[in-house]
Subunit: 213 residues, 2 copies
DNA sequence: TTTAAAAAAGGACATTTGTCTCGACTAAAT
DNA sequence: ATTTAGTCGAGACAAATGTCCTTTTTTAAA
């Protein structure tokens, strides 16, 4: 659920070091700042150097669906550059984010010039298809409780924490349902390990945590 | 929902014509035949020349989720070749299907040798990500009725027909729910055009059709 | 044409999920 | 310490969906 691509990141960092004249810049975004707006024209590709972002689609009925959480080395805007379309989703910083900003023409020329780059890109796109498909299937076909448990496990494993609202948006449900499922999982004793208690602590679920004591 | 990629198809057909010595073959599959099995090792890429297939994930709880319906020019097995993994999903012929079979080593060497091919592939993968993401969001966030109407519209537009079971699997719901929604849409007069009546005719929903008369 | 078997549809009930709302808790201001 | 505004959790009810089982329809055989 938190995607990263260290290969991509290190490629870009090497490229920057060797081509200082190129128009690649570093930008900082405060937590919460939406640096890509769905539907708008975009002419840069962003590669996250540090921090966590969320990539989400806002539907016309006002609801948001989080496609993925993006960490180190993840790319944003490359679909738009390849397909020459406006932004498919919004991207907002969850924590403080530092990102490389690459003009799309440079990105496209890199594809033509560097087969190493193309390979990395093909890998990235493939991974994304696999993850998106797998997740869509999983979330349609399994119970919420099961998906929730998996989501929290991942956060424990990766030592990150996501707000409740974001988790609900990621699961495609309301916060109410999220709370309900959480309660159920707790009632069944799904949170008996220290790492889970840690997650609850982090995700402003302190009240729930107390019940475990 | 029925993906096609005529650019890809014509590239392959030209390539075949110019490289007859290469190990590309044509295969036929009868309707219903599952020519790719989830979890198995695969060493070929398939490009559909004719017919319609479904690409679906079978979850451990016995339910199937249809990722996409594939038509002319769609590729299967390329993710597995690029990422060197076992099959992510099953692929079965819905109608009679003819497909080009390309050994994976040839496919991978094509990526290295032909930048035209790589470009087409990048386009294809990008399109897939866009469609998968958009659909996941849509289906999580909208009512079933809305999604159903969209699905039937697409069938009417593309002059194809999908079985009820497959439509339900595509929407990630049970056939029971599918029937219910269908009835509701009909009750609301959602099927007053001739093209929709045609779809109902084709999809073994003749009984429902009678109600419209 | 009638009958039997198989397949599809739909009713009934249970479960899940969403919406709206109220009440409890928190934190800041006085 | 008291008040007030804001946030969060959860109760109550409605809507949606799944499961199970009965009824209806279709198909094939006699």
């Amino acid at each position: 659920m938190l995607r990263t691509n260290l290969t991509f990141l290190s490629f870009i960092e090497h490229f920057c070091a060797e081509n200082k004249e190129e128009a690649i810049t570093l930008k900082n975004f405060k937590a919460g700042y939406r640096f890509i707006e769905q539907g708008e024209k975009i002419s840069n590709i962003y590669i996250i150097k540090d921090g966590i972002s969320k990539c989400f689609i806002s539907e016309e009925n006002g609801k948001d669906f989080i496609i993925e959480f993006l960490g180190k080395g993840e790319v944003v805007g490359e679909l738009e550059a390849i397909k020459k379309i406006n932004c498919l989703c919004n991207v907002a910083a969850i924590s403080e984010v530092t990102a490389y900003v690459i003009p799309d023409h440079l990105f496209l020329s890199l594809i033509n010039k560097s087969s190493e780059f193309t390979t990395i890109l093909l890998q990235e796109l493939s991974t994304r298809i696999i993850q998106t498909s797998t997740r869509a299937s999983f979330q349609q076909l399994y119970t919420l409780e099961y998906a929730l448990l998996k989501l929290l496990k991942l956060q424990a494993d990766e030592h990150i924490s996501i707000s409740k609202e974001d988790m609900a948006a990621y699961l495609g449900i309301s916060v109410r349902s999220f709370n309900r499922s959480l309660k159920q999982v707790i009632a069944k004793g799904g949170f008996d390990t220290p790492e889970f208690k840690n997650i609850l602590q982090l995700t402003s679920m302190k009240k729930l945590l107390e019940r475990l004591r």
